[in-house]
């Protein structure tokens, strides 16, 4: 929505009003109490077990001289749904009700509802509403007559109802806050760098949260010595952002000296010939190198644009980008995830594409973690999970992009550092994305206004968090506004088709400084900051330049196209602001009210950063020799995490019992426990919160099968408006449990998993592109960096093996939390591989649900046992996938499902759930039941197609085995040498899978 500029006028006036402004408070309540079971369950998890019910009411604060008639109209016509709600005006000073908590937003936090109230009131002819604010009121009811103590109420408010970063609360009545003019604007500080000692340079870096090291500070110092002047704060802040890990990826570009490179002890598929002791950049050596060597004809853009791009058909190209938003999501889960989704959508807009799908992979701490064990300053994993999921849901659903693909993974080590990977896929006509600003093009900002939100986000994400992070970083987190971004999509797609701009980029980390700096890096630009439209007055120039206010794009627009672009913007309620011009000066010059506040040479800004020199140690990993699956080991390390099916039915079940001695009842229970494990169990409770159908292109949906409740390996989309039958396939691979043991093997495994999942639904294995997302700890610790190098090497090997190029990637480092007790909490090395594939005929897509009794079940792939913790990847795998794909294209595969966590038994069980059919399998060794492998799938084939299907694979005799048949009797039965290992009804399987402890709130 376009905020009317005039509505801001009263805001300026209130500073001159002497008597307190009139504020009316409306309390709106449901006639029938709303469902707050989830909230009560969360309160119980905090240890507040006395709470029986929490009633939620909406609060609206209206400021202005309003008549009784106007107030009544506002309440009845605008703010209350009279069928289901009732309202009351707050009269005078309410006595402090000890059992009531009220929550309101902090000043400066986006409150779009409040903006709409002012607009709508005017539309109704009620012009005196000067400002509005919203809040919530919670009435708490205890189980006993004993009221909650103030301490308990404070705990409830702080831990559950209000997030201190964006909200404030009161026991009883709260005072709303309206944006205030906090500071005079136009103030520029100068910083004298030339005389500073090394210590003083580092102090300056810390004081301004610049996250620059001594070499970088010295480079800046030398620059100012050479030009013989002081720096302005605007310049220093811009340099800090431009040189941040987030923007320039200095670790991935660093020169790394490696100790103990044990290449020769690695697998035979390794194709790097000689041991290397120094590498010149992880990105160049491994990721880009693979893409360049593979040189796939379908890659249109890799690593250079805001998103990677591949060919779709003769007419269209597909772009894909995955970002992380981990730090913001840790301190404000809703806003962090919300703006994470918004940010990656703008990446896709930044390659002139229309966003058509969103993906989300989330890693959280255990949901039943004892609140006592929570490090200080860390939100409870339940609160993080519900906030993150709500944030993803809010943005994706409202902007109308289907959230189709993803994963949720629980591990203790994500408690203090949750991971939020947000991806976006776009489509665009070929050759329509312009990339070069021309001299005299205008610098045009589209979208939201600029506020004090999100300052120094790029450097914030490059630092280790501690207990104070939430307080000092408050300004780094914001709430998104998907409707404004939706307007951007409408405008940009049309502006692209009408060739109205010469370059485009998104405003992300670093705000305008980063967007304009990047666009002008080959040319030059001059900016007038006073032209930037602000949400409220009082921002200093550096704040305007760095603000990471959401929903903004920057375009290079020829002067003659400004009017048609403005017309387009007016049509779709998008604000357009002209803030300057591109030139050929090779400098970026920023003015405020005509005064130069920044003047930097492009060459220094973009090339002046010294290459980092880092040390990596690749040491013997603490390899746990085990034949057990990763999930079992994870259960044993997080004992409290055990699903109820285990503890209730079999308190003595032991993960340590050797698999070979398993008795059939135990195998049954073990399979049920696997199916109910949070990492395997159905994610339907989250998937269904996301609109995965909007845009009408979701052909294989995240949930599939007879009852629409079985987990798809991957999703297939047919973008609306494309001709023919071609579609795209999205999948992912992630196994941090392997990363704890062997980062190299984890990378191979994640690549295989992503490709395997894509192939399972019908993707052509010869047209798959990959994205990498590394989430790691502090790379300054040599062991951490060593694991990173190993993972990157695994990426290279995996990409080469499958001939699948990387087209985009992103690293998020420093995912560490320093507890108040000095204890360091780091995440396990985590690599997400996202795959983007092509399927020629979406009508031939294959799902994992069993189709018909009597069909054969094959195990396809090299079913090798793990010598170490992490299963091996056979070099034959790519050939097997190609053969399987040929059989699939020819129509001989009825169902296909990959073997992953929990191995063959879990995979077979999920296929049974999908088709609500039974299956009878024979395996050679009971140890094979839950064995985790790479490169393996279960395939259903009709009896008549048996010979022809086997023909496709016959050259690889080790690669397939017929192990059973689909049965009518609704039972999963697995035999080994006439011994029945598993015998369970499909209903039991479905119940275990569908009733995870997490969803069962």
């Amino acid at each position: 929505m376009l905020p009317d500029r005039r509505t801001r006028v009263p805001l300026l006036l209130i500073q001159t009003i002497v008597s307190p402004p009139l504020i009316h408070c409306l309390i709106v309540s449901s006639r029938v109490p709303a469902n707050t079971r989830a909230l009560v369950a969360d309160a119980h998890a905090l240890g507040l077990e006395n709470i029986a019910q929490i009633e939620k009411h909406d609060l609206y604060f209206l400021q202005g001289a309003l008549s009784e008639n106007e107030l009544r109209r506002l309440a009845k016509e605008l703010l209350t749904d009279v069928v289901t709600q009732k309202f009351a005006w707050r009269n005078g000073v309410e006595k402090n009700d000890a059992q009531t908590i009220e929550v309101a937003l902090r000043p400066g936090v986006t409150d779009s509802v409040a903006q709409e109230i002012v607009r709508a009131a005017r539309a109704l002819g009620i012009t005196n509403v000067e400002q509005a604010a919203t809040g919530q009121r919670f009435t708490v009811h205890g189980n006993t007559a004993q009221p909650l103590t103030p301490n308990e109420l404070h705990l409830l408010a702080r831990r559950l109802l209000a997030n201190d970063v964006i909200q404030h609360y009161a026991l009883g009545e709260i005072q709303p806050t309206f944006p205030q003019d906090a500071r005079a604007s136009g103030i520029v500080e100068t910083i004298s760098l030339t005389e500073l000692s090394d210590d003083e340079l580092l102090q300056l870096s810390n004081a301004r949260r610049a996250a620059l090291d001594l070499n970088e500070m010295r480079a800046i110092q030398n620059y100012y010595r050479s030009i013989e002047r002081k720096a302005t704060d605007v310049e220093f802040e811009m340099l800090a952002q431009t040189w941040s890990e987030h923007c320039v990826h200095k670790t991935f570009k660093a020169k790394i000296e490696i100790e103990d490179w044990r290449l020769e002890t690695r697998d035979s598929i390794s194709s790097l010939q000689s041991p290397v002791s120094v590498i010149d950049g992880i990105l160049k050596t491994f990721l880009r190198a693979a893409t360049e060597k593979i040189n796939a004809p379908f890659v249109r853009s890799a690593f250079v644009d805001n998103a990677g791009i591949i060919d779709f058909d003769d007419e269209f190209e597909i772009s894909f980008k995955v970002e992380t938003h981990n730090h913001p999501s840790a301190i404000e889960p809703f806003g962090g995830a919300n703006t994470g989704v918004g940010g990656v959508i703008r990446d896709v807009l930044g390659v002139s594409a229309k966003p058509i799908a969103a993906t989300d992979v989330l890693c959280f701490g255990p949901q039943n973690l004892d609140a006592q064990n929570l490090p200080e300053g860390v939100l409870h994993p339940r609160v993080i999970r519900s906030g993150v999921v709500a944030g993803v849901q809010d943005y994706g659903n409202k902007i109308g992009i289907p959230t189709v693909s993803g994963a949720i993974y629980y591990d203790e080590d994500y408690t203090a550092n949750p991971l939020v990977f947000c991806g976006c896929v776009g489509i665009a006509p070929k050759n329509k994305h312009p990339r070069a600003p021309q001299k005299n093009d205008r610098v045009i900002v589209l979208g939201g206004r600029t506020g004090r939100d999100g300052l120094r986000g790029a450097t914030f994400s490059s630092m280790t968090m501690d207990a104070q992070t939430g307080e000092v970083a408050g300004a780094s987190v914001q709430i998104g506004d998907p409707i404004t971004e939706k307007g951007l999509i409408e405008v940009i797609v049309r502006a692209r088709d009408e060739n109205l701009y010469n370059a485009i980029t998104d405003c992300g980390a670093g705000g305008l400084s980063s967007a304009v700096g990047e666009m002008a890096s080959e040319t030059g630009a001059e900016i007038e900051l006073q032209n930037v439209r602000l949400k409220y007055p009082g921002l200093a120039p550096w704040e305007i330049w760095l603000s990471e206010a959401q929903e903004r794009m920057v375009l290079a627009v020829p002067e003659k196209n400004r009017a048609p672009l403005r017309k387009l913007c007016d049509t779709y309620n998008v604000e357009l602001t002209d803030i300057g011009a591109f030139n050929d000066s090779g400098r970026i010059v920023v003015k405020y009210a005509g005064r130069v506040v920044l003047d930097l040479e492009n060459n220094f800004l973009h090339n002046g950063i010294p290459q980092r020199e880092l040390k990596a140690v690749i040491s013997e990993q603490p390899s746990v020799i085990s034949e057990q699956s990763s999930v079992i080991s994870e259960q044993s390390s997080v004992n409290s995490e055990q699903p109820s099916v285990i503890s209730e039915q079999s308190p003595v079940i032991s993960e340590q019992s050797p698999v070979s001695s398993l008795q059939s009842p135990i195998s049954n229970l073990q399979l049920l426990a696997f199916l109910a494990h949070p990492n395997i169990a159905s994610k339907a409770d989250v998937i269904r919160l996301y609109d995965h159908e909007v845009q009408g292109g979701t052909v294989v949906k995240p949930l599939t099968g007879l009852m629409n409740d079985a987990p798809s390996d991957a999703v297939v989309l047919k973008p609306l408006g494309t001709k023919g039958t071609r579609g795209i396939v999205l999948s992912c691979g992630l196994n941090p449990e392997y990363g704890k043991h062997d980062a190299y093997a984890m990378a191979l495994s994640a690549i295989d998993e992503a490709i395997r999942n894509a192939v399972a639904v019908g993707a052509d294995p010869e047209r798959i592109a990959l994205l990498d997302n590394f989430c790691w700890g502090d790379p300054k610790r040599p062991e951490t960096l060593g694991a990173l190098v190993e993972a990157a090497r695994g990426c290279y090997e995996g990409a080469m093996l499958f001939q699948t190029p990387f087209i985009s990637g992103k690293d998020s480092l420093n995912n560490e939390y320093l507890g108040a007790d000095g204890q360091r909490h780091a995440i396990p090395p985590t690599l997400l591989i996202s795959a983007l594939g092509i399927i020629d005929d979406v009508n031939g897509a294959v799902t994992m649900d069993l189709k018909r009794a009597g069909n054969f079940i094959y195990r396809v792939g090299i079913f090798a046992r793990a010598e170490n913790f992490v299963p091996p990847l056979s070099p034959e795998t790519p050939r097997i996938y190609r053969a399987l794909h040929q059989a699939m294209r020819a129509g001989f595969v009825r169902a296909c499902h990959d073997l992953s966590e929990g191995g063959l038994a879990v995979s077979a069980a999920e296929m049974c759930i999908g088709g609500r059919l039974g299956v009878r399998l024979e395996i050679g060794d009971s140890e094979e039941l839950f064995r985790e492998t790479n490169g393996c799938l279960l395939v259903e084939v009709a009896p008549n197609d048996r010979d022809i299907f086997e023909n496709y694979l016959k050259e690889m005799p080790r690669a397939f085995e017929r192990i059973g048949r689909v049965t009518e009797n609704q039972k999963l039965e697995i035999f080994c040498a006439n011994e029945k290992l598993i015998s369970l009804n499909v209903d039991e399987l479905a119940d275990a899978f569908n009733q995870s402890p997490v969803s069962n709130l």
């Binding site: 929505m1 376009l2 709303a34 469902n35 707050t36 079971r37 009845k76 016509e77 605008l78 703010l79 749904d81 009279v82 069928v83 289901t84 779009s112 509802v113 709409e116 109230i117 709508a120 539309a123 109704l124 849901q393 659903n397 409202k398 902007i399 109308g400 506004d481 998907p482 409707i483 939706k486 007016d570 049509t571 779709y572 309620n573 998937i687 269904r688 919160l689 996301y690 609109d691 995965h692 159908e693 909007v694 845009q695 009408g696 979701t698 052909v699 949906k701 599939t704 099968g705 629409n708 047919k718 609306l720 408006g721 979406v842 009508n843 897509a845 294959v846 799902t847 649900d849 189709k851």
Partner: protein, 262 residues
Amino acid sequence: MKPRGLILHAPGTNRDNEAALALEHAGARAEIVPLTQLRAGEKHLRDFQILALPGGFAYADALGAGKLLALDLILYFADAVNEFIANEKPVIGICNGFQALVKARILPSLQSPVSSLQSQATLTFNRRGHFECRWVTLKPVSQKCVWTRGLEEMIYCPIAHGEGNFQLADENDLATLRAREQIALRYVCENGEPANGAYPFNPNGSRDDIAGVCNERGNVLGLMPHPENHIFAYQHPRHTRGERGNLGLRLFENGVKYAGGI
């Protein structure tokens, strides 16, 4: 000549392209028109034979789903919309469009002309308290509604909403809706048996399993589910199992055929 359909686009509208495609596949010419163009007089409702209000989150659903779009309809387009309806031209509001038609008191229009500002009906929060996306089975009920009459096959299509729970202010109005054949579509079990409020067949707790209602004339239909998301066989969740039919397209064909006849 093909009837012309106007798909109204407000800030936050998002299933406009699918609605346009559905109308085109049903035989109409469809045009997505931004609300600003209508307000500016660059486009006129009277030039069209069909009006569609598609899904989405107009104005972010601030102050309740469809509320602010309803306000736009009342403040800026009341005359044009009333005239369109009085001329018996077909109108369809899907999801957010339905919510706006209800909050603007165009549906279910229990008293005509509208005599009170009080809403008679609402679409409130789903009984389970959250947004939900899942496929549902719909039974076309009303023979009066120009979009549903004569449809014999059930419709299978997704819902994607958090506020789709249809409730009436006055319990007696349910009898009126039934008697006037204003209940256009009901949620049913997959075999066509009544859902009787049972989740997930009735996904949101709507009174009397109501998925869609029409006005007394029968030319304005509002429904929460998305028939425009099932116009091709490959959109069916079980197309890989060979399941076909129950297309949402039939509803649009019905409406377009009617529009062609007026």
